[in-house]
Amino acid sequence: MIDVNVSLSRWPFRRLPLDETSRLVERLREKGVTQAWAGSFDALLHEDMAGVNARLAAECATAGEGLLLPFGSVNPQLPDWEEDLRRCAEEHGMRGIRLHPDYHGYGFDDAAVPRLLDLAGEQGLIVQITLLMEDERTRHPLVGLEKVDAAPLVTLAKERPELSLILLNSQRVVRGAVQSELAAAGVCFDIAMQEGVGGIRKLMDQVPFEQILFGSHAPFFYFESAELKLRESELGETIRSAIERGNAEKVSGGRS
């Protein structure tokens, strides 16, 4: 199983049961995960993003037991963010990057976004965009974030058919026509925040199963939430296997 949505380090607002990397890796292994794409909670609020990404790469290398792939973060609101992106690709050899537009305070209509996507594409990086970290109703009162409008992303994705673009935790933000248009543009979606009974089947009404990836949002969410969703929907072996692993392998170009 490949989990495309885990995070390391500390959630800023509470300790989580699995926020020690060794414990997270142990749990993922128990659950049959052989590869997990890891971002860092530090990326949400820290401004020394180069430091965040270096620590993430080191943590994956030393404590990841061959299971964790680091996905560094890039904040295009920071000066010289291009250097962070370059280091992710060239110094850390990362397979992808993770963006947090809500925490970093920009929309997809920001002038830096097309350039960021182009540079990521040139480096052969997968781009993950986390649209939400938690239910906006339960955020810490001091965190006044705006929901990101995903509509401008449709055109950006259409104009870059070669770019591997994955939306994480998107279902409270992206629904209906925009979700269908993003899917038609080749964007992939994880299942961590897919809600409703039989949720994966419902997601498949909007998104082809080939573009649905297993993402748990652990350790912020209980890993079992995503795991049990695979049982809750009637998927059949072909679709289940694709969501569990095959689709992520295709996105990463067979490299793992």
């Binding site: 409703g196 009974v197 209980y222």
Partner: protein, 260 residues
């Protein structure tokens, strides 16, 4: 044994209550859930009048009628319509198959006008489920927070009450009802944020936590994960998944001669 405190006839396919109930049972079977408590009808309203309450309760009565061995019902009532709600309690609980009441967002439960309903249901040994949320952006005008429920619990210290959604913001919700031993939390209808169940067991004890899902709007998977993924003792897990709800409902089930 898994008993689900919190299920609805919304969010699933089906033209009739019967068809939707069959879908809920399909999902319950897939996830090994034995019993479902269902409340509210096919079309919801936040401030229902007497006719609407009756219609929604009729939907639930129809839905559970074919599933006596799998499904229970709670009557949807409103403190804004005391007489009509007392009639629904009479019709659906005293003289019908339902086992408790659901209170939603028409009026805060801290308002004393609700007391007539609480006393009536307590006299029938029925369960009382009160929706609660603590939204950082503000609640609906009539929407109760766990702090409102705490005030209700103070007025009725001997009546078991259920704090729906654990208050949504569960870190505050658990603290708000912690002093009131007659209040249990319902675990359904919010994200499967890790650590929630561990804190609840630590602060309330495992006998004050009742598993529920809020399906079909919520995933059975995400809601079961809060219990099945938590680092808690196996005995606590069993209590939360079914033992506590069964214990709460046992008096009224016995009154009605329903065997479980």
């Amino acid at each position: 044994m898994i008993w689900d405190l919190h299920c609805h006839l919304s969010g699933v396919e089906g033209r009739t209550p019967h068809e939707r109930m069959a879908r809920l049972i399909d999902y319950a079977d897939r996830m090994n859930v034995d019993r479902l408590v269902v409340f509210m009808g096919m079309r919801w309203s936040t401030d229902p009048g007497p006719d609407d309450l009756r219609r929604q309760n009729d939907d639930v009565l129809e839905a559970i009628s074919h599933w006596a061995d799998r499904a229970f019902g709670f009557a949807y009532v409103s403190p804004k319509h005391i007489d009509a709600s007392l009639e629904e309690i009479d019709r659906c609980i005293r003289n019908g198959p339902m086992l408790g009441i659901k209170l939603w967002v028409a009026q805060k439960c801290s308002d004393e006008s609700i007391d007539a309903l609480i006393k009536e249901v307590a006299g029938l040994k029925g369960a009382i489920y009160q929706h609660t949320w603590l939204k950082v952006g503000g609640n609906l005008p009539g929407e109760s927070s766990p702090l409102d429920l705490a005030r209700l619990a103070q007025r009725h210290p001997d009546v078991p009450l259920i704090c729906g959604h654990s208050g949504g913001d569960w870190e505050r919700g658990i603290r708000a009802i912690r002093p009131y031993s007659n209040v249990s939390i319902g675990t359904g209808g919010f994200d499967p944020t890790a650590g929630m169940m561990e804190m609840a067991v630590r602060e309330l004890g495992p006998d004050r936590i009742i598993y529920g899902s809020d399906m079909g709007g919520r995933s059975l998977a995400s809601q079961l994960a809060k219990v099945q993924g938590a680092d808690i003792p196996a005995a606590a897990r069993r209590q939360i998944l079914g033992g506590n709800l069964r214990r709460m409902l046992l008096p009224i089930l016995r009154e009605k001669g329903i065997s479980t």
